[in-house]
């Protein structure tokens, strides 16, 4: 999937999409920032998540993930992430494994203003 590129953000809060862009049966969009590739999705509580696009396990592309169980699930091994990027389930790991608690993908805060979705681009990634 081609990521939507946000070029040279100059403010910390930068428009990355319209809310209406997520008006689809599967509300998910690839977003490319200067710092890397992300995936924007809406969970079952209606909240937005902007998290790293590659699964931290072996790098599969989460833009093709399964939007289910109030988060995004990697189709490769079923690792499940919530909107903060926290891994909440690793269904192929042994029963009782707590490894998932240590796994988090990068997350960028987002908010909605006037029908736009804004991301809080970290300062180091703003163009001067």
């Amino acid at each position: 999937m081609e990521g939507r590129s946000v070029k040279d953000p100059t403010a910390a809060w930068t428009v990355i999409a319209r809310v209406s862009d997520l008006d689809a049966k599967r509300p998910l969009l690839p977003i490319t920032l200067a710092s890397g590739r992300y995936v924007l999705f809406r969970d079952e509580e209606g909240e937005l998540g902007l998290i790293g696009r590659h699964c931290p396990h072996r790098g599969a592309d989460l833009c093709f993930g399964r939007l289910e169980d109030n988060g995004l699930r990697c189709p490769f091994h079923g690792w499940h992430f919530d909107r903060t990027g926290q891994c909440v389930e690793q269904p192929a790991e042994p029963e009782g494994s707590k490894m998932y608690t240590q796994i988090k993908v990068p997350m960028i805060p987002v908010k909605i203003v006037d029908g736009n979705i804004l991301a809080n681009i970290p300062e180091g990634e703003l163009s001067q």
């Binding site: 590659h54 931290p56 072996r58 592309d61 093709f64 189709p75 490769f76 192929a92 790991e93």
Partner: protein
């Protein structure tokens, strides 16, 4: 996670590279025999080198260097008449086994071929094909030694009739039951995986503990350096190489080997030509068209939404990692135990080649390579208490009933 330096060391394969030197100590699948129809010069792009299969002055096939421009695409496949041989470049010996032409690009004499089933079965019982994946060969290999992913990536939310399964992976019923493999994979997603080093590479055993004290045993293999040998159905196994074209592209070469009836090659070829474009065997579903991803299908039928062909699922998984997986960001788990063991073997081989200890390489240790047979690859279901014996017995039963000599 590993360092960038280590990731480069184990992935890059051009001339003089460390992993490339290891691969060059083994016969490499270079092209399918059916490609000979292309003409008197057949382009081959292998291990970062631009080559062509030709006959030398004495009429013997060799893999010679061809002249190539720097901006050629990695799978460039020129017409025979447009191929110009570079007489100053290296030329490599080739030999054919059951429809695949192998090349030896390393120093000294080529090694012997092991007596694997795909090599010793008669031509009638082996079908060979290949396909392009646009990614580094190592991530392509690593998905093949990861028994857990089949419970997710290849999950079918419904089971089809196993009678429709001919020539397809995971679509038969399991062992001697009427349970579709797809159901077992779906119902038991947390396999207990163990790995044993063998003379040829790794034996990987995945146990799925079922109800009523039954256990599903799936035995697969890594064949050093870049192949796997896995069961496909009760009748057939797959031996598959992940052969680098360059650092960022590879071909899978598969030899499907039947222990029972002659392979229906017309049907198997037709199934695969529906999914690939010639002459470069590029899959029709690919990154450029999102693998025909369909979110509705993903919701109701398959885990990926990319159709029923499991090759496409694997292709998506490995291409989506990027041209060379960034292993500085990975987090391997218990389900990746075979990958961890494989990388250790590869690093040991890299060190052996660097030190000139070629006799320390797997299948080159001075043992009689021709005595290495099998390897055993199968699915079986057994009582929990005797699963090891039952798994072995299931393979022996298949081998003893085989019309060609499949004894091990």
């Amino acid at each position: 996670m590993i360092s960038q330096e280590l990731n480069d060391q184990i992935t890059r394969v051009g001339p003089g590279s460390e992993a490339g030197r290891v691969l060059r100590h083994y016969w490499q699948p270079a092209l399918l025999r059916e490609e000979l129809a292309h003409g008197d010069k057949v382009p081959v792009n292998l291990l970062g080198e631009r080559l062509a299969l030709i006959r030398d002055a004495s009429g013997i096939y060799v893999l010679a260097t061809r002249k190539a421009s720097a901006d050629e695409k990695p799978t460039h496949y020129p017409n025979a008449r447009d191929i110009v041989i570079d007489p100053d470049g290296p030329a490599y010996p080739v030999t054919e086994r059951n429809g695949v032409i192998f090349a030896y690009m390393g120093p000294g004499d080529p090694p012997e071929f092991p007596n694997f089933d795909c090599f010793r079965a008669p031509e009638s019982h082996v079908f060979a094909f290949k396909g392009l994946w646009q990614c580094n060969w190592l991530q392509a290999l690593e998905i093949g030694i990861d028994p857990a992913h089949a419970s997710f990536l290849h999950r079918f939310l419904e089971d089809e009739d196993p009678k429709e399964s001919y020539g397809k992976q995971f679509r038969d019923s399991a062992a001697d039951t009427n349970i579709p493999m797809t159901k077992i994979l779906r119902d038991y997603p947390r396999p207990d995986i163990s790995v044993d080093e063998t003379e040829y590479g790794l034996k990987i055993t995945a146990l799925r503990r079922m109800e009523n004290d039954l256990i599903h045993v799936r035995v697969t293999n890594q064949i050093f350096p870049e192949a796997i040998c896995i069961p496909m159905s009760r009748e057939m196994i797959i031996t598959q190489w992940h052969v680098p074209i360059d650092d960022e592209n590879c071909y899978w070469f598969t030899m499907f080997t039947s222990f029972r009836d002659p392979v229906n090659k017309d049907l198997m070829r037709e199934q695969r030509l529906k999914e690939h474009a010639l002459p470069d065997y590029a899959p029709l579903k690919n990154k450029a068209n999102n693998y025909h991803y369909d979110p509705d299908e993903q919701a109701r039928l398959t885990y990926t939404g990319m159709g029923l062909d499991i090759n496409v699922h694997d292709q998506w998984a490995v291409e989506g990692m990027g041209p060379i997986q960034d292993r500085t960001q990975e987090h391997l788990g218990r389900s990746d135990v075979a990958i961890i063991r494989y990388r250790r073997m590869l690093r040991q081989a890299i060190a052996a080649v660097a030190d000139g200890r070629f006799e320390d390489l797997p299948m080159q240790r001075g043992e009689s390579v021709a005595q290495i047979s099998g390897p055993l690859s199968n699915d079986s279901i057994a009582d929990t208490s005797d699963w090891q014996m039952a798994s072995h017995a299931a393979d022996m039963a298949r081998r003893s009933a085989c019309p060609w000599d499949a004894r091990v």
